[in-house]
Subunit: 368 residues, 2 copies
């Protein structure tokens, strides 16, 4: 039996032309250990956008039904040399119904599952059966669509904190779906959390969830308030999805100021460990560190897959079980709009979701 | 018995006035476990300058015999609140002759030692006997003056590489005294080393020492050459004393390019660990990261004292023994000028050593 439908691909050519388009595709029977799902709902996450459009000029692109052609800046084109000329499918995660099962995966046949195909922007998608999470009929595809990236990342932050010996977290751009999950996890686990957001509306979103520390970085007294909050919570590990600009450095500066409070002067700064992870690139510009934080500090990249490899099966298993049992509560997601595969490539939709604004996430429904 | 002489201090007041001056001082008998040395030679290291002058405007300062009064920028004054109003002695390391010994340190009486007083810019200085290294009559005070900061730092880089599982080093501003020591250590230990320098003259200095990879960052083909050198040596840990500007990020970018060579495209970059430590601030400006290096990377501060605490007694003991036995070979230092305590505070001297230029280190001879 074969299945036919559409698949979205993104191709960057050596001359800087980026083509994102829908094409016809046929899916054969899945291999052993795999299932084929009919994709019901799949979110557009910032991590998908890095592959779909990267830093291409979508504002001045050419839009036609099911096709976008844009220019990629020269340095980005050069940096992504390894993908030149390849039509790459995209879409990290999805929920759908299993329509065919490979050897050893027969038990999933006909079930609705949350999964991580990597090719979810299509009518159908293959998925690793071991990574599929059956969700039961009372859970909708929309509720199950974002079961992996955000929930596992939010849980991963708390596990990272524990593994590295810290006892409180600073989170930037904290009003996102992921940030709201983190607020709920930290409440349940009694982990002190300092939330940094970018507007009074976002302060309200998190305060309504019961968050204690919510700071608006656009306020003039943001830095003194951040120092106070860190001094109170001892939150010496931070996670920042913005990446560009001065915020990561400001968090380190506030950690240093909080750690130095009442201490004798040291020309080298405090000896207390302070660490910030950049886990996204909402701002593609350079990270600027003013280094007013002594010599005991650390800034690094954080990515879910290597974290899971490092954390090991036991921790990851515990994380997955928690996601499954709290899918419609702690890990509920919110979407601004729902689009078909075709509408996903309209100028209006690309302009909206590619802006990566908090609270404006799109959900794709490939089968209507 | 008491000893009298001069002591240099640096004081920052709340109004931004920085006063660096010589004052009269009397030294009493040392406490148990301490010795008093007559300071013969003490270097001015970049780590001393952070306390002595920090970012004060020494160009427009007022110079009088034995006294410099300068303005500190407002943000730096605020950041160093903990030292306001305190006349702090300075001078990390020195060589001198023990003129008085506290209880338990009698064996050092009359010996020439290398030591780490922290107050070495004076006629005399107390030093922790456990940190004193007797050097024997065949070694001059000048040869022994820089026995701690640079040698232990250079050895610390190699130990850090080993402790963190890396197998090759990238070093920036590599023509410094410290950099020359690192070249010799890496040759002896067969550790691949990529040296980054800032002029053709500095290339020659390191090539004359037998260094294999010496790259001039002012050359137009610096980046492709750096990528090649890292690909060849697998040097995935870097040490940068410059701090400000784009170099630390360029090193990470070159590591990523070397790690990705021949690999399939990943939107998240290579999964190979890559790390750069900033261990100084030759450039006080912001660190600028263009983040063209995926999400598996790490940037941190490196400081000798916490490193030694983490490395433990056995490793530190091995490092110290090596310094003692190779003091006039591997760990030989070079100075541009020798000055008295008074001349150390002349406009000419301050202007020269505070510029922190490679190859222009000053040595202070407090007793002529």
């Amino acid at each position: 039996m074969t299945f036919t439908g559409k698949q979205l691909t993104t191709q960057l050519d050596a001359d800087g032309t980026l083509t994102v388009q829908l094409g016809d595709k046929t899916w054969d029977a899945p291999k052993p250990g795999q299932v084929l799902i009919k994709v019901e709902a799949t979110p557009i996450n910032p991590s998908d956008l890095g592959l779909l459009f990267a830093s291409a000029d979508t504002e001045n692109a050419t839009y036609s039904p099911g096709k976008v052609v844009a220019r990629m800046p020269e340095n980005a084109t050069r940096a992504m040399k390894a993908r030149h000329g390849m039509a790459m499918p995209a879409g990290n995660e999805a929920a759908g119904t299993v329509v065919a099962a490979g050897e050893g995966a027969e038990a999933l046949m006909g079930k609705r599952v949350a999964c991580v195909p990597g090719t979810a922007y299509g009518t159908f998608a293959y998925a690793d059966a071991a990574m599929c999470m059956p969700v039961g009929d009372e859970v909708s595809a929309e509720q199950a669509a974002s079961s992996f990236v955000n929930p596992m990342t939010a849980l991963g932050f708390v596990e990272t904190m524990r593994l590295e010996g810290f006892t409180g977290i600073v989170h930037a751009a904290a009003a996102s779906n992921l940030g709201q999950m983190l607020v709920k996890i930290c409440q349940a686990d009694k982990v002190p959390l300092v939330n940094i957001v970018r507007s009074p509306e976002q302060v309200k979103i998190l305060k309504d969830l019961g968050a204690t520390h919510v700071l608006d970085m656009t306020e003039p007294d943001f830095m003194p308030k951040l120092i106070d909050a860190i001094a109170e919570t001892k939150a010496m590990i931070g996670f920042d999805p913005i990446g560009g600009g001065t915020l990561a450095g400001q968090i380190l500066t506030a950690m240093e100021a909080a750690a130095s409070r009442g201490a004798a002067f040291s020309r080298y700064g405090s000896s207390e460990a302070k660490k910030v992870y950049i886990y996204g690139a909402l701002d593609l510009g350079p990270t600027i560190l003013n280094r007013a934080f002594g010599l005991t500090w650390d800034l690094g990249g954080w990515l879910l897959t290597p974290f899971m490899a490092k954390a090991g099966m036991e921790i990851v298993g515990r994380m997955r079980a928690r996601v499954a049992s709290e899918l419609t509560t702690t890990f509920a997601s919110h979407y601004k709009a729902r689009v078909s595969l075709e509408d996903m490539l309209s100028k209006e939709a690309v302009g909206a979701y590619n802006a990566r604004r908090t609270g404006e996430k799109y959900l794709v429904l490939p089968n209507g």
